[in-house]
């Protein structure tokens, strides 16, 4: 399921981003996300990881360069259908879990019955069929994040963008969600761009890790993870895993200016 050599789904070409306050978040960023790939973006705080995701999602516009999609603009616009999972679950507290998951469909004009049924199916795919009628405040942190993932998947996107989604979760919940995410990625033939601070998480999940440096944000290193899918918990104790973690750690330290 690795995507080496596959066509780029979206490509950031010489992308720069300067904010209104003068901060330069990104400069000359070249980054390609391939179809079917699981790409992790790793880097120190402030290196522009989130900004890069927001640019791909169209939530911000580049100041320089361009975001190029594989699909020609004639085919229903340049942007592919995508899902976005924020660092916070970002659930509307006045809607139930099902109401939250159904929202993207309702916004797109789907009928209530169809939205409801698809939301229910999406919740079932993340193991939350029993929590359909619960409100955000009645759910645990891990359950909220699952609802958030179900919402991102309900529109059946080709691309899933995830911005440190598991940062606030405990280790066990995080590992469970890692495994669930890999299953969903495989089942739905998704392309995933996953921003994280965790070297271990990035290596466990990805087929390729991009390490970014800051001041301004740019790609410092690209490291392929030479391990096949499916990956199970035993992968975490393999020598390939340990060696790749070491390489990614060293690249991260270099990107932070600390030397290997």
């Amino acid at each position: 399921m690795t995507a080496a050599g596959a066509a780029a789904l979206v490509r950031l070409e010489g992308v720069g981003k300067r904010f209104d306050n003068g901060t330069v978040a990104l400069a000359g960023l070249d980054l390609a996300l391939h179809r079917g790939e699981f790409l992790s973006i790793l880097g120190p705080s402030g290196c522009g990881k989130t900004t890069a995701l927001r640019l791909i999602a169209g939530l911000a516009q580049p100041s320089a360069g361009r975001v190029a999609w594989a699909a020609p603009p004639a085919q229903g616009g340049a942007r592919e259908a995508l899902g976005f999972v924020f660092q916070e679950p970002t659930l509307l507290p006045w809607r139930t879990a099902r109401g939250n998951v159904a929202l993207p469909l309702i916004l797109a004009g789907a009928g209530r019955a169809e939205a409801r049924a698809r939301a229910q199916a999406a919740l079932a795919s993340v193991g939350l069929e029993s929590a359909c009628g619960m409100f955000s405040r009645q759910l645990s942190g891990g359950m909220r994040m699952r609802v958030s993932i179900a919402r991102a998947l309900v529109t059946r996107p080709a691309l899933l963008l995830m911005d440190e989604p598991f940062a606030a979760l405990d280790e066990i919940t995080r590992e469970r969600l890692n495994a669930d995410l890999l299953r969903l990625w495989h089942e739905r033939a998704l392309s995933v761009a996953f921003v994280t601070h965790s070297v271990y998480e990035s290596v466990f999940l990805s087929s390729r890790v991009v390490v970014m440096a800051r001041g301004p944000g740019r790609v410092a290193a690209e490291i392929a993870v030479p391990a096949p899918y499916p990956r199970t918990e035993s992968f975490r104790t393999s020598s390939v895993y340990a060696q790749t973690c070491q390489r990614v750690s060293a690249a991260l330290r270099r990107a932070m200016g600390e030397g290997a």
Partner: protein
């Protein structure tokens, strides 16, 4: 039920003790009714003049509730307009503040001169007093929508009305309801103040007029009885609005939801 009793128990016991002490004090000290009537005299006045006072209460209440409705429609409507246009908000908000900080008792005579119908003038006065908390509450709420949630709406290419309907309005609801609860009390205050300003022009029908009339006659038990009815009406309005707020929020908002022990 047990919790409700516990909640109401302390103030009820305190209130009863104060009433008993008050009654004992006026009797022992032989204070005449035209200086300070005891609770028994007030109760007698309430019994004797209950019909008249209650009819007057309904008149004042009708003005207060109509003013509250107008304040809700006007305040929330204006806040929604503000949310659509920052320019409009910048242009109009200072005037709303000016209207709010100018004492209604000073504006009421002018309104009574310009507006031909006294009822309409009373309604306008009470609305002016009540409308500001609704406007501020709703404006704050509409602007309080989480940025990530706005991003989510942008991601799914939500239309302007969808952002308003699915995000901004529900997010504003707790702030709006807090404003409405304050506005409920203020509408009653506004109605009474306007009736005082109108004096005899108000047709001698509202509760404020009954208080004025009783003061001219030094009928203090009746004044207190009218005052009691006003306070009771104010508490009732607040309680009903609090109940409505709880019904709308308790399932999802922390301000109304019960914490698990």
């Amino acid at each position: 039920m047990k919790a409700a009793l516990r909640l109401a128990g302390a103030p009820a016991i305190l209130g009863l003790a104060v009433l008993l002490l008050w009654q004992a004090a006026v009797r022992v000290l032989r204070v005449p009714d035209y200086i300070l009537p005891g609770p028994a005299a007030i109760l007698a006045a309430l019994w004797r003049d209950g019909g008249t006072l209650f009819a007057s209460l309904l008149v004042t209440l009708a003005i207060a509730l109509a003013a509250l409705a107008a304040a809700i429609i006007g305040g929330a409507g204006l806040a929604i307009l503000f949310a659509q246009s920052k320019w409009l908000e910048r242009a109009l908000f200072p005037y709303a503040v000016i209207l709010q900080v100018t004492p209604i008792i000073a504006i009421a005579p002018l309104i009574l001169i310009y507006v031909p119908s006294t009822e309409a003038a009373l309604l306008i006065c009470a609305t002016i007093v009540a409308f500001f908390p609704v406007l501020v509450g709703t404006t704050t709420g509409l602007n309080a929508a989480d940025h990530n949630m706005l991003d989510l709406m942008a991601l799914y290419r939500a239309r302007r009305w969808q952002v308003l309907w699915y995000l901004r309005l529900p997010a504003a609801l707790p702030h709006f309801l807090a404003g409405v609860r304050i506005a409920g009390g203020l509408a009653l205050i506004g109605a009474v103040v306007a009736e005082f300003a109108a004096g005899t022009a108000a047709g001698g029908s509202g509760l404020a007029w009954r208080i004025l009339e009783s003061s001219y006659r030094l009928d203090l038990p009746r004044m207190y009885a009218a005052l009691f009815l006003l306070s009771f009406a104010g508490v009732l309005i607040f309680a009903l609005l609090s109940l409505a707020s709880w019904l709308l929020l308790h399932r999802w908002h922390d301000s109304a939801a019960r914490r698990e022990p």
